[in-house]
Amino acid sequence: MSTKTFRVFFMFLLLAIMAIPAGAAEPVKIGALFSITGPPSFLGEPERNTAQMVADEINKSGGLKGRKVQLVIYDTQGDPTKANQAATRLIKEDKVVAIIGPSTTGETMAIIPIVEKAKIPLISCAAGVKITEPVKKWVFKTAQNDALAVARIYEQLQKRRISKVAILTVSDGFGSSGREQLIAQAKNYNIQIISDETYGPKDTDMTAQVTKIRGSQAQALICWGTNPGPAVIARNVKQLGLKIPLYMSHGVSSKKFIELAGDAAEGIILPSGRVLVANFLPNSDPQKKALIAYVKNYQKRYKTEGDHFGGHAWDAVMLLKGAIERGGDTPAAIRDQLEKTKGFSGIGGIFSFSPQDHAGLTKDAFVLVEVKKKKWVLAKE
C-alpha cells in the first residue's frame, strides 16, 4: 500500500467514524438505581423489570423524538452508601440526563445532595414524605406519600365511627414513617391511639403484641409493615380470636400477601394504588386503560403480575418521556418540563407537579381494597 493510498484510506476512515453519530442519533441516557437485591428487593426487582419493559416499548415505537432510550441500571442493594457511589458514577461517567429511583427513602435522601449539586433531575420511586418536603429543585417522586395512605384509612374509620385504635408497626424506616403519620394525623380525625406496639422486621411471632392489643379497648387494629411481618400478624390475629377490623398499609398490597396470610387475609382492608383492582374500576376511571395495559404487558413478559411497586418505575419513565417530548433533552429542560406536568394518568395516580409540589398526588391516588375470597376487591367506602 503506497503512502498516498494509505492517506486517502485513513482520511476516509476518519470521516466514516465522524459520520456515525451524525447518521444514527445518540441514545438518550437515563440512569436507574434500584435495590434489585438486598432486603428491599421486593421493590427494586419489579421496578427494574418495569423500567426495562417501558424503555423497550418506547424504543420499539420509534424512541424519543427519534432517539433511542438507553437505561443505565445499577443495583444499590438497599444500601445508601452504594446508592451514593452509583449516583456519582451515573453522573460523572455515564453522563445521564436524568435518574430514576432509588427504591427506598434512605437511599434517596443519600443521593439528593449529589443530584442537586450536579443539577440532574431525579425521580425517586420511594415513598418518604421528606423526599419532596421541603421541595428540592431537582427532586421529584412517584410513590404515594405515607401520609395519604394514613388519611385514607382514618377517613374510613371516622365513617365507621371508630375512635379508639391500636397500631402495630415494624421497627424499620417504612414502619416508623407510618407510625409518625398515624400519630400525627390521629387528632384531625378524632382518633385516639390507645395501644402503640412495634415488632422487628425479622420477627416470626407477634402473639405477645396481639395479646396485649386484645386486652385493650381498641376498636380497630392498624398494622404498618412489609411482607412477611403483616402476614404473620394476620395469622396471629386469627389465632387469638381478635374480632376487631384489621387495617394494613400499602406495603403489602400484592397477591403475595394473600398467599402468605392464607385464610387469615380474609376481610383485611388496606389503601393501595389502583393497579391491584384494575379490573374492578369503572370504565370512566382515567387510569384504567394504562393500568390494564401495564398489568397485561408485565404478565406477558415476566410471567408474574405487575404490582403497585413496579408502577412507581412505570410512572417515572413515562413522566420523563413526556417531559423530553414536550421540551428538550438537557437536564435543565427536562426538569422544567417535569415541573409543568399536569394531569398525567399513571399507575400510582394522576400526577400534577408544580413549583410547590414535587410529589404530585392527592389522596385520591389511593383506593381502599379488601380481601374477599382470596382476591383483592374495592372496599365499600
Partner: protein, 294 residues
C-alpha cells in the same frame, strides 16, 4: 379480658417459641460437645428444613409427610457435606478459625438458598388445620400442640440415644476426653460426623414444625440461630435438660417482656439475658462450675 388470661397467653406463646429455641440450642450443644466448635450455620439448617419441605411439597407435589422426611434427609446430607468439606480437612485448626468457617458456611448456604428459591417468603400449610383451640382463656393453634409434642419426642429420643445406645455412649466419651476415647478404639472422626448429622436433622425439624406459624424465607435462619445460641448458653451448652429449660425460659421471658414492658425490646431481652449470663455465669445457669459437657 382478664389480666391473668393475658399472662397465660404470653406464657403459651413463649413456650411455643421457646421449644423451637430449645431444639436449635440442642443442635448447638451437640456439635459443641463433640468438637468444641460453635456452629453458627445452625440457623441455616432450620431455614433449609422449612424451605426444602415447601420445595418438595409444591414443586414435586409430594404429600406433606414425605416432603418432611425428604427435607430432613436432604438437610442432614448438607450437614454431612459441610462437615466433610469444611470441618474435617482442617482438623488441626484452632476452634476460632473453625467457628469463622461456620459463619462462612452460613453465608454460603443462605446465598445458595436465595439463588435457588428466590427472596420471597413462603408459607407451609399447618399440619392439622388453623382453627384455634381454647385453654383457660388463652388460645393456641393445633400447630402449637405439634410443636410441643415433637419437641418432647425429639428431646426424649436424644436423651435415650445418648444414655443407652452404643453410639450415644461413644459420643459422650469423645465429649469427656477425645484422646482417651480414641485410645479405647472409638473413631472420633465418625463421632464428629455423627454430631453434625444429628444436629442438622434436629435443626431442620425445628424449621419444619415452626414454618406453618412463622412462614419461611432464605434469611430466616439468622435470628432463630442466634436465639437458639442464647438458649444453649443459658443451658450451659449441655445437650440435656439445661438447654431445654434455657430455650423455654428465653421464649417465656421474651413474650412476657414484649407484652408487659414493650414490644420494641423483644429481641433486646434475649440478648441482654445472653450478655448477663456470659458475664455472670459463663458456665450457664444450670452448669456446674467444673462443667461436664454432655
Amino acid at each position: 379480658m382478664e389480666n391473668s388470661d393475658q399472662i397465660i397467653q404470653y406464657i403459651l406463646s413463649g413456650l411455643s417459641n421457646g421449644s423451637i429455641y430449645a431444639l436449635i440450642g440442642f443442635g448447638f450443644a451437640i456439635i459443641y460437645n463433640a468438637t468444641g466448635i460453635i456452629n453458627f450455620a445452625q440457623g441455616e439448617f432450620v431455614m433449609l428444613g422449612g424451605m426444602l419441605t415447601i420445595f418438595f411439597l409444591n414443586v414435586f407435589q409430594l404429600p406433606l409427610i414425605t416432603s418432611i422426611v425428604l427435607a430432613v434427609a436432604v438437610a442432614t446430607a448438607v450437614g454431612v457435606v459441610f462437615e466433610r468439606l469444611a470441618i474435617r480437612p482442617l482438623k488441626n485448626a484452632s476452634p476460632l478459625s473453625l467457628v469463622i468457617i461456620t459463619i462462612g458456611a452460613s453465608i454460603l448456604i443462605r446465598g445458595a438458598a436465595m439463588l435457588v428459591w428466590g427472596k420471597d417468603t413462603h408459607a407451609l400449610p399447618a399440619f392439622s388445620g388453623n382453627d384455634p383451640l381454647y385453654l383457660m382463656g388463652a388460645t393456641m393453634l393445633p400447630q402449637n400442640l405439634w410443636i410441643f409434642a415433637l419437641t418432647a419426642v425429639i428431646i426424649m429420643a436424644s436423651k435415650l440415644f445418648f444414655q443407652y445406645s452404643i453410639f450415644g455412649k461413644a459420643m459422650r466419651a469423645c465429649a469427656f476426653n477425645s484422646q482417651a476415647a480414641s485410645l479405647v478404639g472409638i473413631s472420633v472422626k465418625t463421632m464428629v460426623l455423627l454430631s453434625f448429622m444429628i444436629s442438622s436433622a434436629i435443626g431442620s425439624l425445628a424449621g419444619i414444625i415452626i414454618a406453618p406459624l412463622t412462614m419461611t424465607s432464605y434469611d430466616m435462619g439468622i435470628m432463630l440461630g442466634l436465639k437458639g445460641f442464647c438458649a444453649a448458653i443459658i443451658g450451659g451448652m449441655s445437650s440435656g435438660l439445661g438447654t431445654v429449660i434455657g430455650g423455654l425460659l428465653l421464649g417465656i421471658l421474651e413474650s412476657l417482656g414484649a407484652g408487659l414492658i414493650s414490644s420494641g425490646y423483644k429481641d433486646a431481652i434475649a440478648f441482654i439475658i445472653l450478655l448477663l449470663i456470659l458475664f455472670l455465669r459463663p458456665e450457664g445457669v444450670f452448669g456446674k462450675k467444673e462443667t461436664e459437657r454432655v
